[in-house]
């Protein structure tokens, strides 16, 4: 078990749960739920954001947002 912020580029994982209710609400509305398959497409330089594919659709997150999502 780890979180998205700890993943490397091109890694594929399954979402398990969220640590932050507020972020979770928005992410779920955007289509990321427990059980969704995510793939890290890009990590922006200097501790920047994460570009993910969530069930095949692109979403960008900040590090703290990515860290709040627990994956397999």
């Amino acid at each position: 078990m780890t979180n998205i912020a700890a993943l490397a580029e091109r890694e594929v994982k399954k979402v398990l749960q969220f640590n932050d209710a507020k972020i979770a609400c928005k992410l779920m509305a955007m289509g990321m739920l427990p059980g969704s398959i995510i793939k890290v497409m890009r990590k922006a330089p200097m501790n920047g954001g994460f570009y993910l594919k969530v069930n095949g659709h692109g979403i960008a997150l900040r590090v703290n947002e990515a860290a709040s999502v627990i994956v397999e």
């Binding site: 779920m28 289509g31 739920l33 501790n47 920047g48 954001g49 692109g58 979403i59």
Partner: protein, 709 residues
């Protein structure tokens, strides 16, 4: 419209990137107007559509929204309209646009709207894309399972738009039973909803629940009502966030199986990189990404200068001709002067910027339509955060290169108030198109037009330097604001990076039209009023000083044997010196002397409050060359200007550079201040902006002049 025809209100709703605006444009054609939602400054687009013979509708385009649990100002509009059946925008019918390739997440808001009891048709958009991705779907089954009409459409080709109109018309006429609620309430939610329904006379249990979640964001509730709801929520141990999650999960649990039943994707290509992925390997690359962004911006601004020259010249010529004609046909007098020098000059001062603004927004909205801007937001978010801004601020900062007014309005997508406010506060430091004429006149004094390092023009380099100075000043100021302003509110990136798609020119042109109209109206009314005030200040003086000045000038002209034009120019120059504006200029002279400015520059500083480019026209009048007002003649004349006491030239390198610095920093645009007041809902921030920018300008110029002179 004939008397028998029936008129309805239809809301167009959908997630961001669902292709909603294409559908709106197809439904309404060019019959659109932009207004405001009550009490807020979010733009409301309304169009008119003939649905069927005898049935027409106003179509209201709502901002793209993910759910009824909003995070940005734009999204809050949706709950405030749909929670309140008394709202003037409350629709009879909802057309819900969903992207068929992203059906699952897009059904969340649909089922919420459905639970509010609103007759809804689901328009499944992007079937052209679905065909390309070889999706198969069963519309009839989806319609049956969701219990609402469903129609597959394409916002690109216009396929099935007529059928969509017919279905909407039928829904308007039907008086059907409110459908069964999709969401299963928990016991506590049920009790709370039923209490709220009785106490506040709410017709629908899910709407009551929305009150419980958002009462503090609902301006239509009184303070007392809000307190009542608050205590009811406490009584029922209502926890907004965890219940939002519960509700969202349950909705997904219910509609995910439905989507699985009706929509099949081909299995083979899930691992293959799409075209979007391949492009993003370059566009979001850690080195190439930012480089490509700056290359794009360079090309955009090159295009603005190259393409706007001709239309701007046309506008200038047309206004010159109109002014001349009016002066010739109308009798001499103050009304004619007001018309030509006040009103017509003001109008010209507004319209002259339209070519540059239109071209900038044309190119920016192409980048947005294609899906590129979301990538720029992603690339720069981290950097922007360091300065207290949001990745989304990049759009405003770039637009500020044309005009701060539409740029400031584009900040509404930033949900965090502090980040949005800082973006608004620093955007006017980005050099806008109104500064260009001023830079053009003055750069000539700072450096000669020579080539350096083989390829660069020295003046061009100074020009670039001024732009960079503006950008650096914006970032530094943002950083200072970040340290000063405190906030508890959390800030988000969480942005969708949609697939790259070819832009639809019709959508782009409509955006350009909308932005240009906003500029013309918002900036226009302020520039107009100020132009008239300035005309009064420049045309009238205390007691009979103006007449005396005119007589003096005429005598001098007669002695020197000047021709008619030169005489008229001399008279105009002497008159403005004797006018109220001239007195004001002399009044502030002691304050601006340490910056290297004399009273003539003082007058120009005062008059350029309407808009910065007025500087050029005022200088032309003061230096008695009003009739041949172009940047190069003015530059020649300024070069010859000398101090009356010392005989030394006024426009030394030090004075010119000091003046340039002043124009880079100074908040000399009343229209922008008016828009800042409107967007932040208080004069406080407009005043702070004015003071800090003016202070930067004053001390910047002071430093430069004292160092160089």
């Amino acid at each position: 419209m004939n008397n028998n025809s029936k008129h309805f209100k239809i809301a167009l709703l959908g997630n961001p990137n669902s292709g909603k605006s294409s559908v709106f444009n197809l439904l309404t054609g060019l019959r659109q107007k932009v207004g405001n939602f009550p009490g807020v400054t979010v733009d409301k687009k309304i169009g008119h559509a003939q649905l069927k013979e005898g049935i027409s509708a106003s179509i209201i385009d709502f901002p793209g929204t993910y759910s009824l649990y909003p995070t940005s100002k734009d999204e809050t509009i949706v709950i405030n309209t749909f929670a309140n059946p008394q709202s003037e925008n409350y629709p009879d019918v909802v057309i819900y646009v969903a992207d068929i390739t992203k059906l699952e997440p897009h059904l969340l808001l649909l089922t919420q709207i459905h639970d509010l009891g609103l007759p809804t048709v689901l328009a499944l958009n992007m079937i052209d894309l679905a065909a390309k991705e070889r999706l198969t779907y069963d519309i009839e089954k989806l319609s049956k399972l969701l219990q609402i009409p469903v129609i597959p459409i394409s916002g690109r080709s216009g396929e099935n738009i007529e059928q969509l109109k017919h279905i909407a018309a039928d829904l308007c006429l039907q008086n059907s039973e409110p459908p069964k609620i999709f969401y299963r309430f928990s016991k506590k939610e049920e009790q709370l909803a039923s209490d709220l329904q009785t106490d506040f006379n709410i017709d629908n249990p899910f709407r009551a629940l929305i009150y419980a979640h958002h009462y503090d964001k609902m301006p239509f509730l009184s303070g007392l009502q809000k307190r009542q709801i608050e205590s009811l929520c406490k009584q029922h141990e209502f926890e907004s966030f965890s219940l939002q999650i519960r509700e969202t999960m349950q909705r997904y649990d219910k509609f995910t199986p439905i989507v699985r039943q009706v929509l099949q994707k081909p299995i083979d290509d899930s691992e293959k990189d799409t075209l979007t992925d391949q492009l993003d390997l370059v566009f979001t690359h850690r080195i190439f990404g930012p480089l490509i962004f700056f290359l794009f911006m360079f090309l955009v601004f090159q295009a603005i200068f190259a393409w706007s020259e001709f239309p701007m010249m046309l506008i200038e010529t047309a206004f010159g001709f109109a002014g001349q004609t009016l002066q010739n046909i109308l009798p001499e007098g103050w009304i004619t002067d007001l018309l030509t020098e006040g009103i017509l000059a003001g109008l010209g001062g507004i319209l002259i910027f339209i070519p540059q603004i239109a071209i900038l927004f044309f190119l920016i909205s192409i980048l947005e339509e294609v899906g590129y801007m979301a990538r720029a937001v992603f690339i720069f978010d981290r950097l922007m955060q360091k300065f207290g801004l949001n990745g989304r601020s990049i759009v405003a900062l770039v637009s500020g290169g044309a005009c701060a007014i539409p740029a400031i309005m584009s900040t509404r997508t930033i949900s965090n108030w502090k980040e949005r406010l800082i973006t608004i506060m620093v955007t006017p430091l980005i050099s806008c198109s109104a500064r260009i004429p001023v830079y053009t006149v003055l750069v000539g004094f700072v450096v000669p037009s020579v080539t350096v390092w083989g390829i660069f023009n020295a003046q061009g380099l100074v020009f670039t330097g001024l732009y960079l100075l503006g950008i650096v000043a914006a970032l530094v100021s943002a950083w200072v604001f970040k340290l000063i302003l405190q906030t508890e509110e959390s800030s988000f990136l969480m942005i969708e990076l949609p697939k790259y798609r070819a832009p639809m020119i019709k959508n782009v042109l409509l955006i350009v039209k909308e932005r240009v109209m906003t500029f013309t109206i918002e900036a226009g009314k302020v520039i107009m009023v100020i132009s008239i005030i300035l005309w009064v200040l420049a045309s009238y003086g205390p007691s009979n000083k103006m007449e005396l000045a005119e007589q003096n000038a005429l005598e001098v002209a007669a002695q020197k044997n000047l021709d008619e034009t030169a005489t008229a120019d001399l008279v105009a120059g002497k008159q403005i010196e004797a006018s109220f504006a001239g007195h004001l200029g002399k009044f502030i002279e002691p304050a601006i002397e340490p910056l290297g400015f004399d009273w003539k520059i003082g007058i120009a500083l005062i008059t350029s409050f309407a808009a910065r480019e007025v500087f050029v026209g005022t200088m032309a009048t003061i230096y008695s060359i009003g009739s041949q007002e172009d940047e190069y003649t003015i530059r020649d004349r300024l070069a010859k200007a000398t101090h009356p006491d010392t005989g030394l030239p006024v426009y030394t390198m030090a004075t010119s550079l000091s003046l340039l610095i002043f124009y880079v920093f100074a908040m000399q645009c009343m229209s922008t201040l008016a828009v800042v007041k409107r967007e932040t809902k208080s004069w406080k921030w407009a005043a702070i902006q004015f003071v800090y920018m003016t202070a930067m300008a004053y001390f910047g110029s002071l430093g430069v002049y004292q160092l160089l002179s």
